[in-house]
Amino acid sequence: MSSARWIRFVLKPAVFAGSLGPLGVLVFCAVTGGLGANPIEAITHGTGDWTLRFLLLSLAITPLRTLTGWNLLVRFRRMLGLFAFFYASLHLLTYVWLDKFFSWREIARDIPRRPFITMGFLAFVVLVPLAATSTAGMIRRMGGRAWQRLHRLVYLSAIAGVVHYWWLVKADVSRPRVYAMALTVLLGSRLFVAYRKAGGVTSPVRPRASTSATR
């Protein structure tokens, strides 16, 4: 099999199926009573966690590619990003349906008044245009440069998402801190690359990374 066919018919379906795994586990546990005493809380936390994980995974593609030179990684970025949006939608739906029971008045009051909900809502809203413009046709229509500029909004969404998590925990920030550190590394690597590109660093620490970064 050619490598293009290998990616298209084996790797991509495998990543797709794997990305549905967390949802499968949630559904299985929900059906078998395995979500514990507060199933709705477990669903809320589960979908929220996986939104952040997929956001971070999609943000890890570019730095990983730079480090390893595996350009095929970029072929999976859109799928991971769309799965982040998928889990974010489920997370929002859980809130709108199972927490607020479609009481739009209450939701409208919650969003501006509860800072952690404001942040979560912002993180989601920012993802909407990105998901809508994720097709090859949209990239063509918008032009690569404009498309790329728009899709930098994912940084804002990820930051808002992590802040959302940090602000909602009662006292133990150890888990949001892990996400915050991962995000710092991922965004920091971009700043580093941009800084070096601008000529800020005269002697690159990683010669190999520097050559691939200019590609």
């Binding site: 078998t32 009573g33 005493a37 809380e41 199972l98 029971f101 509860r114 602000w167 009662k170 133990d172």
Partner: protein, 316 residues
């Protein structure tokens, strides 16, 4: 002070706990069968067998509710007990390291009979009562729990508090070997809670030593915990080693951690939101729809008088 006991709960209203255990069994069997796996009654039996021994001579107490009880396995597996980790499921898994016997409760402060009591001597003079109470967590969920315990007022009277005693301060065990969660500095250990003396002497307030007719599981605060049903759950301090009569208002562990969010009174109040979330409604575990949170968790008839004239928004 006028205290009206709520109507007795008819025993016909309480679902037999064995039915709850079987319900779980039934659900598990369904779920497992659905995915083509063999049902595992062994696992369920193991869980049932893990229940601590039965308590004897638990008399029905006043202030019952006719609401459905939260199943035992939920009460015993969904716990906020940061001494054993901050996940709700951690305490049930890790609280085995707590040794609830031998156990000493120190009574001191503004009273005539301070002493160190062995836990069994501490409890022995009192008869155990079953109290079916709602429990409303500050996080927005609630349970209905059949506690077995003793009215705190009966206990406190034994120690003869002096006229200088205005508050009662309770302290949890501090021992990082028995309570591994204390290695993390998520709260300023040991856990401390306090009540005004009249709140402590209120007939609704109990020291629980059991639930569902059995000895209190470690994860629920063995061997001795406070239950104050009109306050948010975190006021119900667990695994108590010290009771101190004081003349000043104690600072609880959560209040110390964040006094803007957790006040001394922490009475259940649907009108006063937590700074980060609404307290107007709650999720009763086991129910799909949320229910409205009641003022003083539905115990207003009994306790509202204690707060007459107080600004509950300020004294949250």
């Amino acid at each position: 002070m006028l205290i009206r006991p709520a109507t007795e709960i008819p025993s016909s209203e309480i679902t037999d706990e064995r039915v709850y255990v079987r319900r779980r069994e039934f659900l598990q069997a369904c779920g497992l069968a659905a995915v083509g796996l063999a049902a595992s009654p062994i696992a369920v039996n193991a869980q049932a067998a893990a229940r601590p021994r039965k308590l004897e001579n638990v008399a029905k107490g006043p202030f019952g509710t006719t609401e459905a009880l939260t199943p035992y396995e939920n009460v015993a597996t969904y716990n906020n007990f940061y001494e054993f980790g901050t996940d709700k499921s951690s305490p049930a898994m890790t609280a085995g390291s707590l040794k609830s016997r031998p156990w000493t409760v120190k009574v001191d402060g503004e009273c005539n009979r301070p002493a160190d009591y062995d836990i069994d001597d501490f409890i022995k003079p009192h008869s155990l009562e079953e109290r079916v109470y709602r429990m409303r967590c500050v996080e927005g969920w609630s349970m209905v729990i059949p506690w077995a315990g003793i009215p705190l007022c009966n206990v406190l009277e034994r120690f003869e508090p002096t006229s200088r005693a205005k508050f009662v301060e309770f302290t949890t065990l501090r021992d990082t070997r028995q309570m591994p969660g204390q290695r993390s500095s998520v709260l300023d250990w040991p856990y401390v809670e306090g009540l005004r003396l009249d709140e402590a002497m209120h007939p609704l307030t109990i020291l629980a030593v059991g639930l569902y007719g059995s000895v209190l599981p470690n994860q629920n605060g063995a061997p001795l915990r406070l239950v104050v049903p009109w306050k948010y759950g975190f006021k119900g301090i667990k695994s108590i080693v010290r009771i101190r009569f004081v003349d000043h208002q104690p600072v609880g562990a959560w209040e110390r951690q964040n006094s803007r969010e957790y006040g001394f009174y922490s009475n259940v109040n649907p009108q006063v939101d937590h700074p980060r979330w609404s307290q107007a409604s709650e999720r009763r575990l086991g129910e799909f729809f949320k229910r409205k949170t009641l003022m003083f968790n539905g115990y207003g008839d009994q306790v509202a008088g204690m707060y007459a004239g107080m600004d509950l928004r300020k004294n949250f």
